[in-house]
Amino acid sequence: MVVNCRQVWKEISNYIEGDVDAGLRVAMDEHFGTCTRCKSLLEGARNVVQLYGDERMIEVPTGFGRRLERRLAQGARVRRSNWSTWSAWLVPVAALALITGGLRWANSLTVPHPLQSEHAQPGRNIPPDMVVVVSAGAKDFHVPGCDVIHNKDKIRTLTAKEAIREGYVPCVRCMRKYLQIASIPPASSDPVAELSVNVEAEDRARTR
């Protein structure tokens, strides 16, 4: 292989990199041996690479390292303080959440829930320790055995006081006597009405 000057100029950088194939390298070596211009070009390009590759060629502004060190220290502090800020906030926020949750839980024991039904009446003079039942998903509390209890397989027994506190409202059928809807005529064939009557009778007997 024989190469001319133009081919050498085109490949001279790759030659310096060692990035030419063996055949081309031999041909270029032969060319450099006979062509003083291309040899001069090669040496000059090599000098450029050597000069600029020298660390002394990289000059930094006075105090560059000191300023970099300071900024890195500041950056590290900011990162730490960001975490500190987070962690500093985290503790009181968590404490606040615990306190709030605790208070809500405590309140739930003493403060009544709102009525489960806004259309219901709260009932009057219901004996606090009266045993009643509530069922899952329902809004009323009932005398045990009331026929209009929904989800009878998911009933829960509690006192009237507890049921009222949890927002349950008296059943308009079995707890009718405690409501201001006495005008609703109980059907004599209605077992719930009978239950209500029985409850009233029991109460009357108790008061006597």
């Binding site: 790759n14 040899k39 930094v60």
Partner: protein, 219 residues
């Protein structure tokens, strides 16, 4: 300081020490980060300067890049060269800043085309002597810096990353987001342009032809 000198004079030990420092910083000892990057701070600055061409901007970009490197130190993997990783972060930071400032740049910053045609040297002055001792002179370094600064951006960036930052061709291509072929083409032109700028000056008191003027290339 004595420890650092030993590290620098012994590449293998330096590598081991560097790996130890990286592991310590990754474990949270961020105070050691400056010691880790100190050997490369000049190269990091030079990379930023090659792209931004303004000392203040380059310093700020280099600092910001090092902060990003610190913030992402856990992502560094041992299979990569730490210096290359730092320089790539710096190049990214500088390129991002330049894009942000593009309207204020006077250069055509999106010109990724490489000049077609063959390169024809314009000066064949004999420059076989290796003038490395000349670098002791500040004015020589200044003239070399001026010659470099006079190159078009696309040549200057490739030259700095390959010949000053010592990235390889592939790394240079990846850092700048250009092809390997473009890196080779630009590197050829950058080296020969600088050679043209400097060769004749060696015999005539150095750099009498500077600055290299854009648009007056004889090829």
């Amino acid at each position: 300081m004595a420890e650092l000198n030993v590290v620098l004079s012994n590449p293998e030990q330096g590598t081991t020490r560097e790996q130890e420092l990286i592991a310590q910083v990754q474990r949270g000892q961020t105070g050691l980060f400056y010691e880790l990057v100190r050997p490369y701070e000049r190269r990091v600055y030079a990379a930023a300067l090659a792209i931004l061409r303004n000392e203040a901007d380059a310093e700020d970009a280099a600092q910001e890049a090092m902060l990003k490197a610190l913030a992402n130190i856990r992502q560094f993997r041992a299979e990569a060269r730490f210096s290359t990783w730092l320089i790539q972060i710096t190049v990214n930071e500088a390129l991002m800043r330049r894009r942000r400032e593009r309207t204020r740049m006077t250069e055509a910053i999106d010109d990724h085309r490489d000049e077609e045609g063959e390169y024809t040297p314009r000066d064949f002055a004999d420059w076989r002597e290796i003038p490395s001792e000349a670098l002791e002179r500040k004015e020589v370094r200044q003239k070399l810096a001026e010659a470099l600064a006079s190159l078009d951006r696309k040549y200057r960036e490739v030259f700095v990353l390959r010949d000053m930052e010592q990235l390889n061709i592939q790394e240079t291509a990846e850092a700048l987001g250009i092809s390997v072929a473009s890196v080779k083409t630009r590197l050829l032109r950058a080296r020969l342009m600088l050679r043209d700028l400097l060769a004749g000056g060696w015999e005539q008191g150095w750099f009498s032809r500077l600055p290299f003027e854009k648009g007056t290339k004889p090829w």
